[in-house]
């Protein structure tokens, strides 16, 4: 915010402003990191909390805003980097929603600005940050009581998560499902968005929507929405795999 003409009076006010006059909340950025595993199932990154509160509970990664030094978007990027070692630029990271009930954290009033990240597994180097004793990917499953988070060694119900993180994850899934039909979000989960097949993209749609799609209709929609608009170009090359007909390759060239 560049102010052109701040009066002397106003400058004095700012100089003497006591931010401590009112009690302030803490603010965190917390990130729902989605990826696809080798089964093409939708996965989420959870960390095991090292300290209180919710010590030894699984949680989504995140951390406190560094006041005056960074925007809340930067907090999300920084925390994501610390947890995944990701090249922070060129990453799908979008603000999701802000959660602000006074008792959502037992320490003090903590406002959580939640973000959603969509990252191909090949780009993730998962490592537990300072505040975590472990960090893992979990498949998202559903039973009558809600979501389950499952991998080879661990199975969690959503109520076992720290804080209100189950609600944040629910909100993220709802949002990404709502967006996928009219925004090119899904490309961000491709192993290599500069060289992919329609069927790789289709599997991403199916994982996010938790359904199966008709290949013919998916192709029509893909051509109409992305190729005809120039967002995706046909590479006029094919990729051959053993035992199958070779598949045409496309490249996402962005907006």
């Amino acid at each position: 915010m560049k102010r052109k003409n701040m009066s002397h009076e106003e400058q004095e006010f700012i100089k003497n402003y006591k931010a401590d006059a009112y009690e302030r909340p803490s603010v965190t950025a917390d990130i729902v990191v989605f990826t696809l595993d080798d089964d093409d199932d939708l996965n989420i990154l959870l960390i095991m909390r090292k300290g209180f509160p919710y010590k030894d509970h699984w949680a989504i990664p995140g951390g406190f805003l560094e006041v005056g030094k960074e925007s809340i978007d930067d907090t999300a990027r920084r925390e994501l980097y610390e947890e995944t070692g990701l090249d922070i630029d060129n990453i799908y990271l979008k603000q999701l929603y802000t959660f602000g009930k006074p008792d959502r954290d037992p320490r003090t009033h903590v406002i959580s600005v939640a973000y959603t990240a969509l990252i191909p597994k090949s780009q993730l180097t998962i490592s537990a940050g300072d505040d975590a004793s472990d960090a893992r990917l979990f498949k998202i499953k559903y039973d009558v009581n809600g979501m389950l988070f499952v991998n080879d060694t661990i199975s969690l119900t959503e109520s076992q998560l720290a804080f209100d993180h189950n609600e944040i994850i629910r909100t993220a899934i709802t949002r990404i499902r709502g967006r996928i039909d009219y925004e090119p979000d899904a490309f961000n989960l491709l192993k290599d968005k500069s060289e992919f097949t329609i069927y790789e993209l289709k599997r991403i749609y199916e994982s996010i929507k938790n359904t199966t799609l008709d290949t013919a209709n998916f192709r029509k929609s893909f051509i109409r929405s992305y190729v005809n608009s120039g967002l995706v170009v046909d590479l006029n090359r094919k990729r051959a795999e053993t035992g199958k007909k070779a598949t045409e390759l496309y490249s996402y060239v962005g907006a």
Copy 2:
């Protein structure tokens, strides 16, 4: 957040937690209040700031979170009530986006959780709250440099607004335009959503989208989307106005 089984160790941790150990930002809820004026043009509520910073600048209403006492949603409701005297329940008030750049407020790092409200003018009793010397509705117009805010006596360019409030308003307009085609937001701007004509609703759509719509096509879409789904019922009564054919009345019965 009800925790069932918090360990003694964790309880001790919470008791001894010093929130002051890290610097915290301030958090505000700021509200973009939309209404339609008597010309059926889209209006926004702005207040004239009484104190520094941006003293004597127009701004959207809002205020600081009362830490530990209220959720950020409640902050928005409370501030909206103070500025409009509104019956706070039964109001369209939705979280929009959170703005968190460190220098967006010259006092200190202030995180603004922005909300959008859609309220019929008949329900608004606009009054300047504690922190405002004036409160007015402004038509939203556009010129080559962006938005203008205009009423009978005042004309503002968007860059004259306090803080980054022009960016917040832009975000709100984009969001509401994007939502109106698939969410029943527009009903919240009707004078009386329990008794309205198709044409009253059409004018709201036109104001938000800033276009004119075909009556025949609007009717078809209205019937399909709302009457057939039961969200709106045909009252089987008409309202007569002088010099015109009487118009069928409908009632929004909600989800």
